[in-house]
Structures are given as C-alpha cells and as structure tokens.
Point group: C2
Amino acid sequence: MTRVTADVTFLRGYNQALVMAVGRTAGTFERATVVEATGLTPQAVSKVIARLTADGLIRPAGVRRPGIGKPAVVYELVPDSRYAIGAHVARRTLRLVLVDLAGTVHHSAVSPLPRDFTPEQLLDALATGVDTMAGVGDLRGRLTGLGIGMIGPLDHANGLVRDAHGLRHWHDVPLREIAEKHLGLPVHLDKDVTAGITAEAWRHGATFGDAALIMVESGIGAGFWLGGATHRGAHTNAGEFGHTVVDLTGPRCVCGRHGCLEIVHQHAAEAGDVAHAARVLAVGVVNLLQTLDLAHVVLAGADLLRHPQTYLSAVTGAVQADARRAAWLSTRVTVSSLGADVIAAGAAIQVLDQHYGIPALAAS
Amino acid sequence: MTRVTADVTFLRGYNQALVMAVGRTAGTFERATVVEATGLTPQAVSKVIARLTADGLIRPAGVRRPGIGKPAVVYELVPDSRYAIGAHVARRTLRLVLVDLAGTVHHSAVSPLPRDFTPEQLLDALATGVDTMAGVGDLRGRLTGLGIGMIGPLDHANGLVRDAHGLRHWHDVPLREIAEKHLGLPVHLDKDVTAGITAEAWRHGATFGDAALIMVESGIGAGFWLGGATHRGAHTNAGEFGHTVVDLTGPRCVCGRHGCLEIVHQHAAEAGDVAHAARVLAVGVVNLLQTLDLAHVVLAGADLLRHPQTYLSAVTGAVQADARRAAWLSTRVTVSSLGADVIAAGAAIQVLDQHYGIPALAAS
DNA sequence: AAAATTTAGCAACAGCGTTGCGTAATAGGG
DNA sequence: CCCTATTACGCAACGCTGTTGCTAAATTTT
C-alpha cells in the first residue's frame, strides 16, 4: 500500500474543497462565514474565493449591509457550472439522473434492461441515455463524468465488476474501462449502497456524522459513511448487511447460513405482514447501531419505499426503545429525501466529489 | 463541526509521520526505501530524515554497499527515544505497561482494584504505578504521556467517563482532566477495545487494512480500524458488538433484548462447551465481515485467551466455510501477539500516535 | 588511473497560508 | 459638511513546504 505524498497542491485542493462544501450547504455565504467554518485566515479565504470565482464555480450574489462598516460581498455556488450523470444499474432496470454541482437532481429517467443483460446491452443503454441527458441543456465542457452504482461484488479501485449477483454475464468485467472508451467520458464505478450514502452525505454537508443507508430492494444492503468518508471495506464488499445472522435457528438462506436478516425479513414480507418485516429490519438496524454507533440512519430502497411510514416508525421505535441507549446516544432516522433516485444521484455525486470534494490522503 | 485547516505545518507533520511509520515497521531503512514507500522526492526525504535525526527519533545505523556506487546510509528508529505508559482499567484490575517508540512493551504490571472503586482510588493506583514505571529507567523528558483504556460508555473527545458499566461511582467523571492534574502528564482516554485495535495497527504499519479486534472478557466487544484510523462512532460508543442480536428467540439479555451474541455465548461457555461458545462467536464475526468487509480479525481478551486455539480454529473455519466468500475475499484471523497487554499497550500507543502518528485533518 | 554508477546535499524556486498594514466603503456624531 | 469609528478587503513581504537543477562524494568496474 503506497500512500499519497502531501505537497502544497494538496493544501490548495483541500482548502478549496472546504470552501466548496460551505457553498454547497449554506445557500449563500460570505468571507466571514468561511473563516468561521474552516479556521482559515480571511486573507487565505480571499485567495481561494478568487480562484473559485475565476473557475466559475462560485459567483458574487450581492452584498450584505449589517449596519456600520463596509458591506460584505455575498457569494453563492453556481449550480449549473458543472454536471454529472449518474446511473443506477439494477437487475431489470437502468435509472439515469442528471445532477448539478449543488447536488440537485434535474432529470430522472428509468428504462428497462433485458433479463440477464450483457455488458454490451448495458453499454448501449447507457450510451443512448447519456446522449439524451447531455442533450437536454448544452452541457459541453460542464459534464464531469458518469457515475455507475451497481450491485456487487465489484472492485471499486480497479473499476471491475467481479460477479454481479443474479447476472450470468458479469464475471470480471472491466466496466469502468470499457465504458470510458465507449462513452468518451470519465466513469466512476461503485457499489449501489455506497453511492447512495454518498448522496446523503454530500447534501447534508459537514454536519453529517457517521451514518448508514439501509437499502431494501431485492435484498437488504447497507452503505456506510464513517469518519467523513465512505467505507467500502477491504474488497469493496462492505454492506452485505442482509446476510448477517439474526436468528440462529431460522430458515436457511441462499448464502448457506441460517437465519440471515434478509431471509427472515423476506418470509415476513411474503406473508403479507409488513409491520413484522419492518420490526425484523429494525432489529438489524439496532445491531448496526450497537456495532458502529451511528448518528444517522437513512432508509431507502424500492421495497421499503412502498411502506415508508411503517418502516420508519418501526426503526425509530426500536432505536428509542433500546434500554441501553441513553439520552446522549442520539440517532436520527430518516427516509431518504431523494427517494428512488438516491443510488443514481449518489453515483453522479461521486464523480463531482472526485473533483470538488475534500481529497483524501491515503490511497488503499 | 469545524474542520482543521490545512497549512504547511500539516504537510510537515504528515510526511514526517510517513517516514516514522516506515522506520517503525521496517527495522532498518534507507532513503530509497522511504522514497519508494511514500512517493516523495529523495531531496524531500533527506530533509525529513535530517529533522528526525536532529530530534533523536532516528539515527544512522551503518551503510549498505549494494555493489557499484556510493554506499547508502542505513537508518533505524531509536526505540528508547520516547516512551508512553498505558493503563488498562477493568472492573477489578489495573494493568500498566511501559511502551517505547517502536511499540515494544518493556514492563507490564497488574494490580488489583477495590470492588466498585472510586475515581480517587483509581487515581492513587495510577499515580503509584506511573511513578514505579517512570523510575525504572530515567525517563525524564522522554515520557510523552499516559494512555487510559477503559470500559465505556465514555466521551473520548472530552476525556469524560459517562457511565462505566458495573461501576457505581463513575458517572460523568472528567477523568482526563483530573488525571492530568493529579499526575502532571498528558493523558489520553479511550474505550478499551479502541485502544486495543490501535496497538495492532501501529505494530503492523501501513499493510494493516480494515480490521477489528474481538475482545472476549466480561462481555464481548469490538474495536475497529477502518480506512486507516480508529472508528469510535458518533458518541465514542462503537463496538458494543456483544449486544447484537443473533438469535431472535434466544434468552433475554441484561440489555433487554433477546438473543444477544453475548448472552448466547455466555450460556454456551457456562455449560462448559467451549467449542460451541467459540462457534457462536464465529457467527458474530462472520456477521461483522459481511457488514464491514474486513481484511483482518484479531482475537483477544482474557476469556478467549484461555482457549486461544479453540476460538482461532472456530473463527477461521467459519470465515472460510462461508459460501459467499470467494477466494478474493481474503481475511486474516489471528490471536493478538500482545496477549493480555493489548489494551494497555494500545492506550500507550495512542499517546505516541498523537505525536508521531499520521495526523488527521477532520476534527469531529 | 579513468570511467561508470549510485548516493547525498546545496541552492534556487514555485506555491501555499500567514502577517502587517494600507485602502475602500459605510453609518453615526459633531 | 467633516471627522471618526467600524467593517471588509487586498497588496506585499514573509516563512515554510516540497521540487528542481546541478554539483560533490564514494564506491566498483574497466
């Protein structure tokens, strides 16, 4: 494992990203806002703001006259200065979204995919979809790339799909590489749940603590945001949350073990008892909280979003009922505000994040 | 949440820490070794090495003559240039260790603590223990501080013990502050399991990927090393791994839920069936792997270390037997090489890490 | 003894945030 | 109307970082 060397260009990118994060989450801001949020000196912030303004990423938006003294210049992010396209590849559908620099979803489109689609079929669907999206406005020069959120297992670092569950033609497919050639765009590949939690983190900004995205949709998975970054695990395989055992004497799961959260939940759901299914999921969520001590749990996924209130109240109730959880152990439970777009939007945001997000130093 | 600003002093500390990490894990090293490991230019490494040598942290240790050309100067860490003392505070015992800059444990001592000991009693025990340890060599000026690894819940950021489980006199005790006053040393307070995983990570160096320390000792806990840093969670409460439900219809646990890993494991152990208890723990470990995708699992704790082989083979077997785990999903399972000292040593290492470890940018 | 090779370091440089201080723009008071 | 206090902002010099260009030193090979 080689670590990235830290030179002055890192400082530049890091502090620039801090200012961008303020701009993204604060609506409008001025120099003093950034000074307070980052600890940089006013002069340093001036330099950063000058660079960002020159790049067209932010712009002046009037002045604020708080009374006495010279008015402060108010700045705002320029949302339409950069775009990214996100794709959510599921077993039967492809969802594409267009996201701007502020993290706002502008267009969303779902198209069916053939059963057991091949890499070529996916690429064709991506190509036509991307062309349509890019043609909506004139995005030349402002499109930073395509993000793909997909079912695993896959290898994020190398852009490789190892074995997409339930898809026969997907073994060791270098999807990132061939998609970049086919589309002529930078492509970023990640697991669906990891992309999803990135969307939530980007939109919430610096106040977003350790969190998980719980995804119930043809299986149960989880995406993690820990210590200010996504957690993918050693082999991009973190989040197989549905295959944790919650009932040692439970029914046998497709994975070979007994009483996995996913199979227990599925049995309850198939019996039509949504409330029971939600309570089973809640047990798993509390397990996560005990293990990872999360500040925020976001619920998502097509199957869950059919009964959002049932799941939300079951999970919230289980979290609050846990006797071990004192008042200071606060955890917010919410349903994703992006709804069905969360994975695709997160995939797009990951592309934006590579350019305008806070850079990491350690490369794994 | 304010983020730490990145200035040139950060670069200095970061790259210096990279070189120290090489020195700690490589035994001896030369300039070219560091260049390869870090990506810095040779000239930059020369400057860093000069600084570290001036501080007495590393020293020349001969030359290497690889054939043609000028011989390369070989350097080595100076282990006895800095020390830290680590304390493992358990319910009935206090363990103190003296650790040098290389992470080597020099002295280890266990003393009993009164039942339901008070903060004052602990401070007295710490004071006498620290005096004894510091008097072994002449450590004036080379002692960086005291690290305390303790049962939770506690607040790492503020050095506050919230409610130590099973200890009546420990509610909202500002232990770090009062210990610093009482001992005249910098004090670092953290949860026991988090301290333990830090010891493992520090000793393994940069090759240490995402990992967990599984601790079986009057309860079951886990410490996490994720993304190159400890994971403490939103309220320093991560690792309550023993209170994750693995058996929905299992016996009631002290925490109020049914079928927690800890109570199921305890029942098996009390029945004298160590092998069964180990298999129960193994189910929990595989749950962790599914969730977090770890590269390394370290086993520790007094109860586990009474039957290390039984637990090691049960966990290793369960990890390998998991049908979902393909060949590329490799996970190393080991018993901690530090044995019973792992928590105390880790607490000491956390102090060293604050000074000579890789600095983090985000402050939570 | 000369050439080739490898290591090491001096000196100048570019780029970052910081510091010192001057300037611009406003409101309020005499 | 002018002066002062206040607040915002930026130029210029500075210290520090890692980088680059180049020279010197130490060794083996020819």
